[in-house]
């Protein structure tokens, strides 16, 4: 089960107040605490590490610029996760426009690749390559989901957030989170089964 639940430091609000007053070192502490979680979230939704880095930078720049508008009604990290999801959506939208005419990798090629990957994971360079390619494949399966389902899936499985936290970030009810999550898991499992990644 995913167990990477976010632990919010008690002094987040203090650090936000200091950062609003102009303290870059306070903002640096917030960055240090959350950059790994944000990079995991963004990196799982964007294929290229370079693009993911650009988005992570954009997330923290946007957060700093709009710190004034952070009222403290919600937790800082749920607010930050919302910014990360928006920045990723913006990026994917721009990318889709840019590569509208680019041909998609044929499905048969993906399936062929998946069959080749159906080998035991080893502690070796080959094993590491296998894990990376497998991760690419799972990311492709995630891409078959719509934005709303993908976001819920990633917030639960990658970030390990609770239903209540996901509901707060995505602005829907807990019931909707549960039904989106159920659909997303089912669809990803079916896709990976079709590609012979899981039985």
């Amino acid at each position: 089960m995913p167990e990477t639940k976010v632990q919010q430091p008690e002094d987040d609000k203090q650090l936000v107040l200091q950062a609003v007053a102009g303290s870059q070192s306070a903002f640096r502490k917030l960055y240090d605490h959350y950059q790994k979680k944000i990079s995991r979230l963004v990196g799982s939704m964007v294929g290229s590490p370079e693009d993911a880095n650009d988005i992570v930078q954009e997330v923290f720049i946007r957060a700093f610029r709009s710190l004034d508008s952070f009222k403290g009604a919600s937790s800082f990290y749920t607010w930050l996760y919302r910014i990360a999801l928006n920045a990723t959506t913006d990026f994917r939208r721009k990318q889709a426009r840019r590569f509208q005419s680019a041909p998609e990798k044929p499905l048969s090629e993906i399936e062929q690749g998946a069959r080749q990957l159906a080998a035991p994971v080893e502690q070796s360079p080959e094993g590491e390559l296998y894990r990376k390619e497998l991760a690419q494949l799972v990311r492709r399966a995630l891409d078959t989901l719509g934005r709303e389902h993908r976001e819920v899936m990633v917030l639960r499985e990658i970030s390990g957030l609770s239903y209540a936290e996901i509901a707060e970030i995505t602005g829907v009810t807990i019931g909707t989170v549960m039904s989106r999550l159920h659909y997303a898991r089912k669809k990803v499992a079916e896709t990976l089964q079709r590609w012979n990644v899981v039985d």
Partner: protein, 152 residues
């Protein structure tokens, strides 16, 4: 009794898997799962998908070096968007300019070289004023002339 009737729905299995049930529900679900292999299989499938998703998360995470590089770019951008008066570099420049001015143009420098600083002279009734350059004695003489005579 209705309370004894417990059905393992997809929703309940998912909530159990995600740790979104209380301890009482948990033990009832575990009993039901032990007697239902199909539900156990569903639970196992959740586990397999989660494992693969974790792989995506791990490969997406930035390493320390990348995190440092990202911060440098972020802080540079923050610096550019800050109001001028809140930028440390601005104050460093101001301090450097002030130090330069104090060193070469400040009134302190002139006082130290024994020059006389005159803040104001009232010469409303004077027809002319003559300032004699500093003498070797280090004294400066100022001559004022008015209709009634001259005064020093």
């Amino acid at each position: 009794m209705a309370e004894d009737k417990f059905e393992l729905t997809e929703e309940i299995i998912q909530r159990y898997y995600d740790g979104e049930v209380d301890s009482r529900q948990r033990s009832r679900i575990e009993q039901a799962l032990a007697a239902d292999s199909a539900s156990e299989e569903k639970l196992a499938r959740y586990g397999r998908v989660s494992e693969l998703m974790q792989l995506v998360g791990e490969t997406g995470e930035a390493d320390e070096l990348t995190a440092q590089r990202n911060w440098k770019k972020v802080s540079r951008s923050l610096e550019e968007t800050r109001p001028l008066l809140r930028r440390p570099r601005f104050w460093v420049s101001v301090a450097a300019a002030a130090a330069f001015w104090l060193l070469f143009y400040s009134p302190f420098g002139k006082i130290q070289s024994n020059e006389l600083v005159i803040e104001s002279i009232d010469c409303t009734y004077a027809s002319f004023m003559l300032i004699q350059p500093e003498a070797e004695t280090g004294r400066t003489i100022i001559w004022l002339s008015d209709p009634g005579g001259s005064q020093q």
